[in-house]
Assembly symmetry: C2
Homo-oligomer: 314 residues x 2
Amino acid sequence: MWLPNAPRRVRINEVSVRDGFQIEPEFVPTEQKIALIDRLSETGLARIEITSFVSPKAIPNLRDAGAVAKGIRRQRDVVYTALVPNARGCERALECDLDEINLVMSASETHNLANMRMTCDQSLEQFRGVMQLAQSAELAVSGCVATAFGCPFEGEIAPERVKWAAGRYLDLGMDSITLADTTGMADPRQVSKLVEAFLRWFPGVPLTLHFHNTRGMGLANVLAGLAAGVDSFDASLGGLGGCPFAPGATGNICTEDLVHMLESSGIDTGVDLDRLLGAARELPALVGHDISGQVVKAGKTTELHPVPEWVGAR
Amino acid sequence: MWLPNAPRRVRINEVSVRDGFQIEPEFVPTEQKIALIDRLSETGLARIEITSFVSPKAIPNLRDAGAVAKGIRRQRDVVYTALVPNARGCERALECDLDEINLVMSASETHNLANMRMTCDQSLEQFRGVMQLAQSAELAVSGCVATAFGCPFEGEIAPERVKWAAGRYLDLGMDSITLADTTGMADPRQVSKLVEAFLRWFPGVPLTLHFHNTRGMGLANVLAGLAAGVDSFDASLGGLGGCPFAPGATGNICTEDLVHMLESSGIDTGVDLDRLLGAARELPALVGHDISGQVVKAGKTTELHPVPEWVGAR
C-alpha cells in the first residue's frame, strides 16, 4: 500500500527569500524581494520565511530585513516568519508584526561554533532572552535544529544530540521544531529513523523537515519523511540556497519540484503550481544565474507534446 | 519501520554507454567507449547495457556496436546486455557473444509509432523473429515496456496497457521485464501502484525499473520502487541520457547518486562507489559538457571538511 502513514495534506514553508538570497553573490534589491514575496503569497504556500534579522555586517544581503517585512502585502492565510539570531534581532522583528520567528542552533557543537561563533550553551542562553521578548508579545517561535542529519565537520550526529537540542527548545517554550539537513547529508533511512524517534520523544510537537538536494536525495528524503507521517516541509523556489562546502552542487530542495511531486502523488499542498512556476521562471533574471529546478525546464507531466505529423498521417 | 518490504541488496544496470551516448551531440570514439565499459566492469555493477544493434543510420552514435561488444574485457560477474530492435540486430548481437539482449516497445501506441516507426503489433511481430534466434542460441532476453508511466503524446497510460505489453513479452518467452519511465513522467505513488499491480499479475517475473530524473523525482521513484520490493534498477553514469522533449532537463537517474543513496541507506549494491565516482569525474571531458550528477560535485556525505582554524583555537 502506498505510504499508509503519509498525510493527505502537506504545508510548505518557502525559504528562498531568506535561505536562498542570503548566499547569492549579488544583493537582490529590496523592492524585488518584496515583489517576489507578494507573488509567492498568492500561490497558496502555507508559510514564507521572508528574511533574517541578523546583523547587516554578518549577512549584507539581508540588510533590508525591516524594509522587506514592512513592505510586503500580507495574505491572511500565509504565516510570515523570519529568522532571529538574538534579542536585538527579536526587537527588530517585533517592530514588524510577524506571525512567527525562527531560532537556529546546530546540533553539532563544531558547526555552531563555525556558523554562529558561539557554543550551543551560549546559543541557548541567547534564546532565553529572545523567548522572554517573544512570549511577552505572544509571538510564536519555531526552533530549528541545524545539522540534525550530519555535520560537515563532525560527521554523524547522534540522535540523542538532536533529542537534547529539541528538548532544550521545548523547555524554553518554543512552539514547533524544524530538523534541518543543513548541508545535504541526510539519507532516506536516516530520515525515517530520526523522524520516528522524534515522534516518540515529542508526541504532538509540530515538526517540519528542511532538506537540501546537495547529493540528489532531497525529494527521496521528503518521501521518507512523508512515509513517517511528517506533513510540513521547507523548500526554496528554484532550489535556491546551498552551502559553501559544495560549490556547483544544488541547494535547498526546489519548491516547485516538490509541489509537482506531491500533487502528482495525490498529496494536497494547497499550492497553485502554475503560479509558482510563473514565479520560478523569473528567478534566473532576478539572481543572474540558472536555477536547479527541473519542472521549470521540463514542464509538468500533464503538459503533452504534439504528435509528429507523419505519425498522425499514417 | 524503514521500508519493511525493501530488499537488502539491489542490482544496478548501467545504461550510460547505450542510453546516454546515443543522444550525445558528438560521437564518442569506439576506444573510449570500450575503456569506459572496462572501467565500469570493475566497479561491481551487476549489468551493463553496452550498445544497441540498431541501424547505423538511425543512431549514428552507436554505429560501432559490434566493435564495442568485441573490444571490451569481460568480467565474470557482470551481465553484458545490448539493445536489439529486430532480427537483423539480433544476428549482429549473436556474433558478439552477449549474456542478454534487450527488446523495447512502448506501452503507448503513439510513442511506438513516433519512436520505432511501427505499431505495437508490428513490434511484437518483429520480436517473434528475434525470439526464435535468441532461443536457438540460448540467449537471455529482457523486454522493456517504454512509456510505462506516461507518454509525452498520449499522457496517462492505463495500467492494463502495461499488463498487456508485459504479458505479450512473457508469452513470447522473454525472461525478465523492465518498466521504463522513458520521459520522466512517473511519480512515487504511481510507481508504488504499478509495481504492486505488476507483482500481482506476474509473480516471480524478474522486474527492473528504469527512471529518468526529468522532473526531479528520479530517486524518490526509486525509493517508491524499493518500498514495493523491487531490487533491480537502471541508471546512467553522470545522469547521461535524456529525452528530446525536455531540453535542459536532467536525463536518466544518475548511477553514482543512486549508489550513494542506497549504500547510505544500508542497501547493498555491490558497487565500489569510489571507483564509480572516479569514472564519473572523467565524463565531462569525454562528452564535452557538464553532467547532472550531484555526488561528484558535493562529495560523499562521509567526506568531512576541516574545522576552521579559528574554531579550533577557541
